[in-house]
Symmetry: D3
Subunit: 139 residues, 6 copies
Amino acid sequence: MPIVHITRRERFSAAHKLSRPEWSLEKNYATFGKCSNPNWHGHNYVLWVTVAGAPDPETSFVTDLSELSRLIKVHVIDHLDHKNLDLDVPFMKGRYSSTENLAVAIWEQLEAPVKGLGVVLKTVKVEETENNYVEYHGE
Amino acid sequence: MPIVHITRRERFSAAHKLSRPEWSLEKNYATFGKCSNPNWHGHNYVLWVTVAGAPDPETSFVTDLSELSRLIKVHVIDHLDHKNLDLDVPFMKGRYSSTENLAVAIWEQLEAPVKGLGVVLKTVKVEETENNYVEYHGE
Amino acid sequence: MPIVHITRRERFSAAHKLSRPEWSLEKNYATFGKCSNPNWHGHNYVLWVTVAGAPDPETSFVTDLSELSRLIKVHVIDHLDHKNLDLDVPFMKGRYSSTENLAVAIWEQLEAPVKGLGVVLKTVKVEETENNYVEYHGE
Amino acid sequence: MPIVHITRRERFSAAHKLSRPEWSLEKNYATFGKCSNPNWHGHNYVLWVTVAGAPDPETSFVTDLSELSRLIKVHVIDHLDHKNLDLDVPFMKGRYSSTENLAVAIWEQLEAPVKGLGVVLKTVKVEETENNYVEYHGE
Amino acid sequence: MPIVHITRRERFSAAHKLSRPEWSLEKNYATFGKCSNPNWHGHNYVLWVTVAGAPDPETSFVTDLSELSRLIKVHVIDHLDHKNLDLDVPFMKGRYSSTENLAVAIWEQLEAPVKGLGVVLKTVKVEETENNYVEYHGE
Amino acid sequence: MPIVHITRRERFSAAHKLSRPEWSLEKNYATFGKCSNPNWHGHNYVLWVTVAGAPDPETSFVTDLSELSRLIKVHVIDHLDHKNLDLDVPFMKGRYSSTENLAVAIWEQLEAPVKGLGVVLKTVKVEETENNYVEYHGE
């Protein structure tokens, strides 16, 4: 049976900043640059979720993409879209909102629901701007 | 002499929200939907500035694009990038941060400096997400 | 009051062919090339709808984009997406499904509903492939 | 000798539907949603073919891309472009036209010809819409 | 009869530089920056050609796009693709290879052939990089 | 500790040709096609550099992207942008300027500086046109 990877793209727009509250404005700026702006900034994030499995003999699908999309919406997008990553998102509590941490947190949100679909989560990719993106493979 | 239009693309990432302070959360949500999230959200905005003129006989340029880019940076991008459109931007004071208002405000910022280059400002286009953008032609 | 143009992007995937039933296969192929394949082919069409108006003083919107998107969905996308343009679409009856005719037909579908929003329909743009698109301005 | 991966992009526009003929319209709709429309729908598919090998000392190419492109055209694109995936394509006979099955079938079409170029086929990627794509690595 | 605009995209990759032979290296660098590199540089240019007309009652086409594409290839792309804009292109002789001049020269190459198709040339757009493009409307 | 991959995109515009000086024009054309044009051609190259590591507990970054970008600029982009790959680039001396060789040479330029950031270089990807790109993983 061939193993095929299938990827779903979703999007969310969110505010965030990078700063440690125990540091001065100056130290935050020296470390995080313009991302430390106290009044926040924001991005149109793009998320790609890749799962792998054998196509089902009856449907020829690795997984029903509309169901995968619904799970991503319920477990990830509804928590992040038009939100503040540092104030509004329970699963980001206690983590700085770097794209790296965001990708790992999204992996944790999706791992169990994706397993429930009978497929394996392979990659979470998060693009912050057209010039940088992050990938997490669960290891 | 041919009149040629030339367009420069720039980008900025910013936080904002749409809400009227004198309205209740409920009325703001009914009017502005998820854009009214009290803790802000944000976007990767894309800006296109189009100017028109005759190519200079000596340089064959309508205008020096690096100079146009510098003017856009000084008059627009430096004020907007990694900022909060509702708190940090002098030229947005007193205006709601709809993409419509943003395009008109950027036009106002650029009209005089662009005239100083000897060309005519034709269009300011602002893309908020891949699914919507706004254009202002100065009228 | 400034007049601002605002554009909403929507997408639909559809089957179609270009052939005149009263012509032979050979004449259809000579005229329409591979687009005349009797068993159909298809595209991911991209639609941009541009409207113009003055921003509302209360909301700062030319028009509520979610309402514009809903109107495009009800009057256009629901009729075209995952359909056969030549068999399934009442408003394409009696017209060949060239991108040109499609753009004009979409304009006719949207003109009255857009007027109901208090704004003016300016352009319907339909992209058939990355290498060609059509625009109709209502004239 | 370094091993380099090189990828060629090609495109095809095709009609298809997802439905099992022995099922009722209702069961097909419940399983495949709008993809089961009896009169077909279609897509602009994008195909990426990745091969790997050591650059040739004489040409500095892993493989001649125009020859790779020609092989993809002869073995894949000519069979799929402006066709109906369910009616017109010999190598899709007996398979439902999910993107998963399409990627596996394209791999089978290309594996031997690519080997004839002296390189190894690594990945077949097929994008159905901007929001979903499939990859097959031959395993 | 509705007038519809239709646009064809083509691409070419070319070398060029911006420098006046009668000027010193220093003056050329001061005026044209890194574009004056004596050993050339190059771009993947993207060209969009827009024509307008009424759809033909028999074919429903404003113009046969494969014929428009062939004319663009014969009159423009074959002269520019994988060439040096300053050394190899008869219709650029005596003009500096700014994108502005290139757009005007392409217009001149296409105006008569497009008229021969029974449609009107409306716009030549040339993109030099993702951050800048030029449009010429024939005036 | 999770290992996260992070990718930075940069761009450069350069001239080059593919031809062996000891071969005739005819043999070069037979082997390299239009890429052998004696007067050069050029491209907008796009470069993606992927590195991997564990997010730093203090900053939550795998690596400071502005520092990674600066290293790519100093070691790669400044040598390639608005240059002739065959005449102006010390680290391409003695190598034909195929995209394959370019990717390997860029890897060699970046391997040590990236190690100095405390992360591992994983992939250098170079796109020559929208239809072809090359990846090198260091093996």
